[in-house]
Symmetry: C3
Subunit: 268 residues, 3 copies
Amino acid sequence: MTPAPFDIAAAIAQMDAVRTRQPLVQCLTNSVTVGFVANVLLAAGATPAMVDSAGESEVFAREAADAVLVNLGTPHPAKCEGIRAIGFSAPSMPPWVLDPVAVGALPVRTELAHALVAAGPSMIRGNASEIAALAGTGTGGRGVDSVLGPDDVVDAARTLASRTGGAVAVSGEVDLVTDGETVVRIANGHPLFTAVTGGGCALGAVTAAYAAVAPSPLIGAAAAATVYAIAGEKAAARSAGPGSFAVELLDALHALTPADIAQKAVIS
Amino acid sequence: MTPAPFDIAAAIAQMDAVRTRQPLVQCLTNSVTVGFVANVLLAAGATPAMVDSAGESEVFAREAADAVLVNLGTPHPAKCEGIRAIGFSAPSMPPWVLDPVAVGALPVRTELAHALVAAGPSMIRGNASEIAALAGTGTGGRGVDSVLGPDDVVDAARTLASRTGGAVAVSGEVDLVTDGETVVRIANGHPLFTAVTGGGCALGAVTAAYAAVAPSPLIGAAAAATVYAIAGEKAAARSAGPGSFAVELLDALHALTPADIAQKAVIS
Amino acid sequence: MTPAPFDIAAAIAQMDAVRTRQPLVQCLTNSVTVGFVANVLLAAGATPAMVDSAGESEVFAREAADAVLVNLGTPHPAKCEGIRAIGFSAPSMPPWVLDPVAVGALPVRTELAHALVAAGPSMIRGNASEIAALAGTGTGGRGVDSVLGPDDVVDAARTLASRTGGAVAVSGEVDLVTDGETVVRIANGHPLFTAVTGGGCALGAVTAAYAAVAPSPLIGAAAAATVYAIAGEKAAARSAGPGSFAVELLDALHALTPADIAQKAVIS
C-alpha cells in the first residue's frame, strides 16, 4: 500500500520544521500587502527579507535566501528589474514560489508570468482564474478576484504542474494542490480571508517558507495551505469583522498547535 | 418644493448600491497607506484594484475599472508615469476622484495636481489647505495637515467645483461637499481619524467607490463622507487609542446598517 | 558632581516636548513598514511626512522638516535619488537619523550607508550587526536580524559616534546609546518587538522625532529608546500575540504617562 502523499501528520511535521529552522524567505512582492506579508511570515515562524532591488536581489537569492517568493502584483519597473536580475535557473537557486496576481488581461505582469513559468518555479500559488490564465485556458478574473473555483481548473493546474515540474496550489473555498499526478484537497478556511487585502499574497509567502523545508513541492504547498487556513478558522471565531480578523490571524498563526491541525484539518 | 439634494435616505441608498454592485475601484495611490486604503474599500463593500504601473494602468482604467482614484501622496516617478498614461478625458473614462495630498509647496505633486484638475475630475477630496492651494487661494498646509477649516475655503471649493464640473469635498471637523451651487455639510466623524495615517486617503477611495454608483457627484461624495464618518464614530466608541481605532473602523464599516445612518447622520 | 547625562526625568521631559511641539518628521524609509512607521510617529505625538521623491525631498528637508529619518531598507532607485537629493551637510539641515537596515552584505544600501555616515548624521540607530558592519568591524546579520548583542559592539558604537559627532543607539535586549564618551543602557522592552515587522524601523522614526526637540543627540536617542520600549512593555501585557501587539503598541504609546516612565524605566 502506498502511503498517502499528504496527510495531517505531514502538515504538523512541516509546521514544526518551519518554526525550528526559521527559513529566510526573500520576497519580491507587491507594495499593497508587503507589510502584512512580512508579519504573516514572522507569525508562521519564518524570517522575512523584502530584498527586491536589482543589485541586491540577485546577491541575496544566491547567497542568503532559503526560499524566494515572486508575487506579481504592482509590477513597477524597479521591481521587475529586481526580479529579472535573479537567475532562477541557476544551480544555486533555492526553492521559489510564483504568485501570479491578476494575470490574464494585464500586460506587464502577464508577460513576466509566462517568462517565470518557463524558468520552472518550485510552486505556483494563485486563485482559479489566475491558474487558468497561466495555463492558457482562461483570460483572468475581475481584478484580483477569481470568477472560477479550484475544481473548474483542475486540468489546467495539473498541466501547469507537469510543465514546471513543481506543485500548483489553487486557492478557493476548497484549496487544491497538485504535482501533476496527485491532487490534494484541503477543505479549511473562512470567507473573511477574501474580506482583507493580502489574504492570498500572504499564503504565497507562507508557501515559500514551507518550500524551504519540505521534502517535496506537493507536501510543502499542501502543508502551507492547511496551516494557514486553520489559523484563519481560529481567527474568524474571535473576529468581529475584517479589521479584527487580520489581527487575530497573526495571533492565531503564531499560537497554532499540532492539536489544532489534528482536530480541524479536512484533507482528501 | 425642490427635494433636498442630499439627505439620510440618499446616504442609505448609496451605501446599499456600493455593497450590491461591489464596484471595481482602481487606485493610483501613495505607498504609505495603500494597504489600509485597500482594506477600507473591501470593508465598504467595494473591490480594490491597485493597478498603478504604466502599461497596465491605462488598460485597466479603460476596460475594467468602475471608478478611479488618483491620490498624489508619494509621487514617485513610476507612479506619475502610471497616472500620466491614463486618458482622463477619454469618453471611456469612468468617474474618477482626485485626492491632492499635501499640494501647495511640494513641486512634483502640485504641478501634477493642476494638470489633473484641468482634466476635470468627477470629484476632488482634500482638506481645507489642499483645496485652497488647488483653487489658487492658499499655499498648502503643514505636511499633510491642514491649517484651515472647511468653512474657511467654501468659496474656493465652489470655484473649483464650477471649474471642473464635478463635486468638491472638504474634510474637517464638519465635512463640506459642493457642486458649485449646493453646499452640503456633514457634522459626523471623530478626532481619532487624524491620529491614524490614511484617514483621509481612505475616504478618497471610498468616495471613488461611491462615484461608481451615484446619480451625481454631489450625492456620491456626500454619501461617502457620511457613511465613513459614522463608521468612525462607532469605531471610536470601541477604541482605546489609534491602533484599535484603525482595526475597529474596518469592522464598523463592514457592519454598518441603514439604522446606524438614520440615527447618527447630521446633515445640513 | 556632574549631573547624570540621562535619567528618568530627562526621558519624561523629552516625551512632553515631542507631544507639545509635534515635530514634523520627514521619513525616507522602506516600503515594507512605511505605514506602521507613520502610525507610530502619530501615536508618539509627532507629525509624519513621508516625502521621499527627488524634486520634493530636498525642498521639504530644507524648508519644512523638523527632523529627517533615512532608513535604508528597500533601496529602490527612486528612493535612493530622493535621499541623494538632500544636502545633509547644508547649514539648513535639521537633525537627522540614519537607520542602516541590513547593511553589510547587501551592496546598494551598504555603499549608501557609508556615504551617509560621512555626512555626519545626528543619530544612528541599528541593531548590533548593523552597527558593527557600519563601523567596519563586522559583516552584517542574517537578513534584518542581528547575530550579535549590543554589548558585543560597544567599541564599534563609540567609534562610530566619535566619527560622526552624534549619538549611536544599538537596539537589543538591553538598548545601548552612546555619544562616544558616555554610554547609557536601557533595560526595557519585550521580545514581541522582534515578532512584528517594523519594530526597529519605527524606533528609528521615533528617534528622529526626539532629535527634533532634544538638547543633545545622546538625550534624544536615549529618551526615544526608553519611551518606545516601555510602551512595548505595556502593549505586551495586553497582547495575545504579534498581531494584537502591533495594535496595542500604538494605543500604549498614545496613552503613555510620565508615571509609566517613572515606574518602569531601567536606565544605567
